[in-house]
């Protein structure tokens, strides 16, 4: 355990040093991740204003709060591992990771968390600024706030497991861009990024409940906005728990098969 902690601390230092070097890349990343939710916020804001100030149960202020929170939750849980693994395999970088005495997922988690900590310094003021511009109304409900913390943590872990496992596809094919795009599109519609799920057609809501997407982005946002009853929140935690178990099992199986599949450059 102590050793693992040390690994995380070292990884944090490395990531910090790297990110300070690549400031421009940080800015680009920020623009991409802020612009997307802002675009959908603007669209729904326009719809709400043209239909008497609200759509379903969402007023313009609610949309503001929803999409800004969505941006923050998406920021907290997102990973870039699916876009990187194929490079690692093709260039043989993975061989070094395999030589280390701990599972390579730890380095990735530490790297991810460190990056988030650094970018959070930019995200929070931007989110505050956007909240003012779009007049977001955030209701503060103490129990929801308390439940949000474990929900976000579970969302992060589940998303990391799912996407890390999916990245393993790169062991079998190097044409991962189409698969990544499919995953991205599914997440766009089923996690509440295009629109709050309650505004989606009913069949999509059903599918979203059965798949992991809602539980890794939409659920923490709806929870914090006080849109869920305590019963629904418990169900959400249960769903996250189920996906956590599935994710862990899949990771174990797929990783074992993947490493066997891997033939490094030069071996």
């Amino acid at each position: 355990m102590r050793d693992l902690l040390e690994v995380y601390v070292q990884q944090f230092k490395t990531t910090l040093a790297t990110q300070v070097q690549y400031r421009a890349a940080l800015v680009i990343w920020l623009i991409g991740h802020i612009l997307d939710p802002v675009i959908y916020l603007v669209v729904w804001d326009t719809v709400a204003r043209s239909s008497g100030g609200r759509v379903g149960t969402f007023s313009t202020g609610d949309f503001g709060a929803y999409f800004i929170l969505l941006m923050l939750v998406n920021h907290a849980t997102f990973t870039w591992i699916m876009y990187e693994y194929d490079y690692r395999i093709r260039h043989g970088d993975l061989s070094f990771a395999l030589l280390r005495p701990i599972h390579p997922i730890h380095a990735d988690i530490a790297d991810n968390v460190s990056f988030k900590l650094i970018t959070l310094m930019f995200m929070l003021p931007i989110a505050a600024g956007l909240a003012i511009v779009f007049r977001a109304t955030l209701p503060l409900i103490p129990w929801a706030l308390a439940a949000f913390v474990p929900a976000l943590l579970l969302a992060f872990i589940v998303r990391f497991l799912v996407e890390w496992t999916l990245a393993m596809v790169a062991f079998w094919t190097t044409r991962v861009s189409a698969i990544n795009q499919m995953y991205y599109v599914a997440a766009l519609f089923l996690s509440g990024q295009v629109a709050p799920l309650s505004l989606m057609p009913f069949p999509i809501q059903v599918v979203a409940t059965l798949l992991p997407f809602r539980w890794i982005i939409g659920f923490p946002v709806e929870l914090l906005l006080g849109r869920l009853t305590p019963g629904e929140v418990l169900m959400g935690f249960a769903a996250q728990g189920v996906w956590l178990a599935i994710g862990l099992a899949l990771l174990k199986i797929v990783w074992r098969a993947s490493v066997r599949q891997y033939s490094a450059v030069g071996s």
Binding site: I28, L35, D36, I39, T46, S50, V55, L199, M200
Partner: protein
């Protein structure tokens, strides 16, 4: 005439290079279809709650989707890959070879790389455009069609000049690829009419990164929203930027010291 022939030659080289990777065509086609499906599904969700978005009807927004794909495809087809190679060749010093050729260097660097499969986006975008226009039942008059053509050309010229100016900056600041990536993420915003966005964002999308001229203005022309003033403004800006980027390129070339000299 020489220029057209040169363009054709480079295009042919690009095609020949890519023909070796035919599966890429299907992958790219699949991704283009997925992108189109995403755009249409997004519109479908929005229009279950309203019948107009900022004054645009569903089929008019599909026109915009068509223009977005068409222009985006054209950018990815030749402008972006060529400019990326230009930046790379400045860093590696291989621009020397281009400069010693007896043709206009700006032309050579502007068409030097072609990602041929991006044509799927161009073709699909064009198809979407036509289907949407038929559904609109819009009898597109000669003037509207002409205005669309002019707006599209002006938008293309503006985007091209914008990229050339940024890529030319690599003579001074070697690593500028990142700035180009910013354009791509900002281009996403062009899938919606820029009139939707709040003032500061609309300004940025019009004058800082000229997305509005590339997508919204041509779509306005086809849906009968374009004023003569906007069109004139777009043409004037295109002309100014073409000349400006040309002068800036010449200036940059003089600064370029080469790899070995």
């Amino acid at each position: 005439m020489t220029y057209l022939r040169l363009l054709y030659v480079f295009f042919r080289i690009g095609v020949l290079g890519e023909l070796a990777y035919r599966v890429n065509f299907f992958v790219q086609l699949f991704q283009s279809l997925l992108g189109l499906g995403t755009a249409l599904a997004g519109l479908a969700v929005i229009f279950t709650h309203t019948d107009r978005l900022g004054g645009w009807r569903p089929d008019e927004l599909i026109v915009l989707v068509g223009v977005y794909m068409l222009v985006g495809g054209a950018i990815n087809l030749v402008i972006q890959p060529s400019m990326e190679r230009l930046i790379e060749s400045v860093r590696e010093g291989t621009l020397d070879f281009t400069l010693t050729k007896p043709e206009d260097a700006q032309l050579l660097v502007s068409v030097q790389a072609v990602q041929i499969w991006q044509l799927t986006d161009v073709v699909l975008g064009f198809g979407v455009l036509i289907v949407a226009l038929i559904r609109l039942g819009a009898a597109v008059g000669v003037w509207q069609a002409a205005a669309f053509g002019v707006a599209l050309l002006a938008g293309g010229a503006i985007v091209y000049s914008f990229w050339l100016i940024l890529a030319t900056c690599s003579f001074w600041f070697v690593r500028v690829e990142n700035i180009l990536v910013i354009f791509q993420s900002m281009y996403e915003a062009g899938r919606w009419p820029v009139s939707l966005y709040p003032g500061w964002l609309r300004f940025a999308l019009t004058f800082v990164v000229p997305v509005a001229f590339a997508t919204t203005v041509p779509a306005q022309a086809l849906t009968g929203r374009l004023t003569g003033q906007t069109l004139l403004g777009a043409v004037a800006l295109a002309a100014a930027l073409l000349v400006g980027s040309r002068l800036f390129w010449r200036f940059g070339i003089r600064y370029y010291s080469g790899a070995s000299a």
